[in-house]
């Protein structure tokens, strides 16, 4: 059986590649573990603030949510904006006014359902209270960002857009830079007076042309073709996407320096790319352990996804996201510098 010959060779071959082996056996365990941490922590109770609410309502609401009494609507609004709460309820003239954050349809749904449920339980108690002037309080629901029209795909769209731009650029840039090294041309051009950073930067510029086109296509298709919900300026979104793509380009070329072949480059996908998706905001990490949150901050995609969500769904402007943009650019600069250093492997100067 010649198949055995092939099999034997393959076992020897892969067996000698310690890194591939490690990845094959350890990466799945790691990713499944991360997923389990995220899933078990994302079933958190929604946080709802109440302003001058009746005690019965607060008691009913406390059962299913984390309810906090705040002094006035201004404070409640601030807390909502800064993400300390998911919604707030203000009672004025006995009419409840609900304001939800609105960027995540899942949270919006559960929050409004829980508030309605709490209001119902208050009504049930009413006959005993014998106050005839009270009518059924139908809550008016406002949205801080977006509206009730936003569906699950809309809320995911900024993340998906950011991720796909990031992923495709990473792959193409990584493979292409790898090819330059495998074919010997990298070594060859390093035998010329070319400076190391000029090579890295040249790659960045050359690919920049293509990733700009790619980014415009992806974004245009999502915004005008799929008509995903967007509240933000098209060009501001494009700016975020381009910075994200540029940074991914830098990361792809950098990581290709640590891969001997395409096989090893693709191994970076489960350890570098997949965790980024998990941590970039698809899942609510607010209740996750501290280390999960800390981890999410080392992934560039987290910042890209946040900026995209802020602009597309929350309709925020450049002044609100400049910090994220600076972090994305900083990541890119670090990756390019590291890559320039990594080329020392080929030429010491």
């Amino acid at each position: 059986m010649k198949a055995l010959v092939i099999a034997k060779r393959l076992i020897k071959q892969i067996g000698s590649d310690k890194r591939s082996l490690g990845l094959m056996f350890i990466a799945p365990v790691l990713i499944i573990y991360l997923l389990s941490v995220i899933f078990t922590s994302s079933t958190s109770k929604p946080k709802i603030d109440v302003v001058s609410a009746p005690d019965t309502f607060v008691q009913a609401l406390t059962k299913d949510t984390i309810t906090s009494n705040v002094n006035n609507e201004g404070i409640a609004l601030e807390r909502l904006k800064s993400g300390l709460s998911n919604a707030y309820v203000v009672f004025s003239n006995n009419a409840p006014k609900v304001t939800v954050e609105g960027s995540d349809p899942m949270i919006t749904k559960s929050v409004t359902a829980l508030i309605k449920k709490a209001l119902m339980s208050e009504i049930i108690k009413l006959p005993q209270a014998s106050s005839p002037q009270v009518t059924i309080p139908e809550p008016s629901i406002n949205y801080l960002y977006a509206s009730s029209e936003i569906d699950f795909f809309d809320s995911m769209a900024p993340l998906l857009m950011g991720f796909f731009i990031f992923f495709f650029v990473f792959l193409i840039a990584g493979v292409s830079f790898l090819r330059e090294r495998i074919s010997g041309t990298l070594e060859r051009i390093l035998a010329t007076p070319l400076k190391r950073y000029e090579i890295v930067f040249g790659y960045f510029l050359g690919f920049g042309v293509f990733i700009t086109i790619q980014t415009i296509i992806i974004q245009t298709f999502m915004v005008y073709g799929l008509k995903v919900f967007t509240n933000g300026n098209f060009f501001l979104i494009l700016l975020i996407n381009l910075l994200l793509a540029g940074q991914s380009l830098a990361l792809g070329t950098l990581l290709s320096a640590f891969a001997k072949n395409e096989f090893q480059l693709f191994q970076f996908i489960p350890i570098v790319i997949v965790p980024q998706i998990l941590f970039s905001g698809i899942f609510d990490l607010s209740e996750a352990p501290v280390w999960v949150n800390a981890l999410s901050h080392i992934f560039p995609l987290t910042y890209g996804a946040k900026a995209l969500k802020d602009v597309m769904i929350r309709g925020l402007g450049l002044m609100d996201i400049w910090k994220e943009l600076i972090i994305i650019v900083a990541f890119g600069v670090v990756f390019i510098s590291l890559n320039s250093l990594a080329l020392k492997k080929y030429r010491k100067i």
Binding site: T185, E187, K348, I349
Partner: protein
């Protein structure tokens, strides 16, 4: 004669592995120095150290008086690597123009030089073909042209004639001869003993050290042998007929 390249007591070590030790040699204007030795002897490592890719562990390399590694000194070197480092998706002209531009040669000058070189290496008819459709011999010829583009004072050729047919090999050596006569110093590595007769001087290299240095005639006389294969065995300390 002026020494263009001075290698002094070069030691090159990677981790714990010593690849070159105590290597000293000079390369003079208008000569072809053959670096002759079996694969694994350290030929490519020596060449890469001269090109400035590696920092010597100890010892020194000077190119036209500049200590290597130095990017400005690299300008004087034309390098043809062991593998054909060409861009498969580009045609011959674009490949050459690219390498020219790395040395700052652009525009009309670059185009003229490209055509001149394509003529020298007899690739004019295939100049618009993508390299992936080139044969091995054609790729070698184009690699040589790329190394010559900026008219370097020192030409370093790492196994330039591997895998090419005897006719082309003959033409390669004729071309090297012409380049040499124009005043360029050439370093050629090879493991084909037969090619050594084209060189003015030979450095026999084995296990990371130079075992003999001199003209082919001198080496034959010193070892009182008839051919370089036997001379190599003699200098390796293996006097007798059996192979390594």
């Amino acid at each position: 004669m002026q020494s263009l390249v001075e290698v002094r007591n070069l030691k090159q070590q990677f981790g714990t592995q010593v690849v070159l030790e105590n290597v000293s040699l000079d390369i003079f204007e208008g000569e072809i120095l053959g670096v002759l030795g079996p694969s694994g002897a350290g030929k490519t490592t020596l060449v890469k150290a001269i090109v400035g890719m590696n920092q010597p562990t100890s010892g020194s390399i000077n190119i036209l008086g500049t200590k290597m590694p130095s990017l400005s000194a690299v300008r004087n070197i034309g390098y043809m690597a062991q593998s054909d480092a060409l861009y498969e998706d580009l045609n011959a002209i674009d490949n050459l123009l690219f390498f020219g531009e790395l040395y700052g040669i652009k525009g009309k000058e670059a185009k003229e030089r490209t055509m001149e070189l394509l003529e020298i290496v007899k690739l004019l008819d295939d100049s618009k073909k993508q390299i992936k459709n080139f044969s091995g011999g054609m790729k070698r010829r184009l690699s040589l042209a790329a190394a010559l583009f900026h008219k370097p004072k020192i030409l370093i050729l790492d196994e330039p004639t591997v895998g090419i047919d005897p006719v082309l090999r003959m033409e390669f050596w004729k071309e090297f001869e012409r380049i040499k006569n124009a005043g360029t110093a050439i370093i050629v590595t090879t493991h084909v003993m037969d090619e050594a007769r084209h060189c003015q001087r030979l450095a026999l290299i084995r296990n990371g050290g130079i075992i003999a240095l001199g003209s082919p005639r001198e080496l034959l006389d010193q070892s009182s042998t008839e051919n370089l294969e036997d001379a190599f065995l003699y200098f390796s300390g293996v006097k007798g007929g059996y192979s390594l």
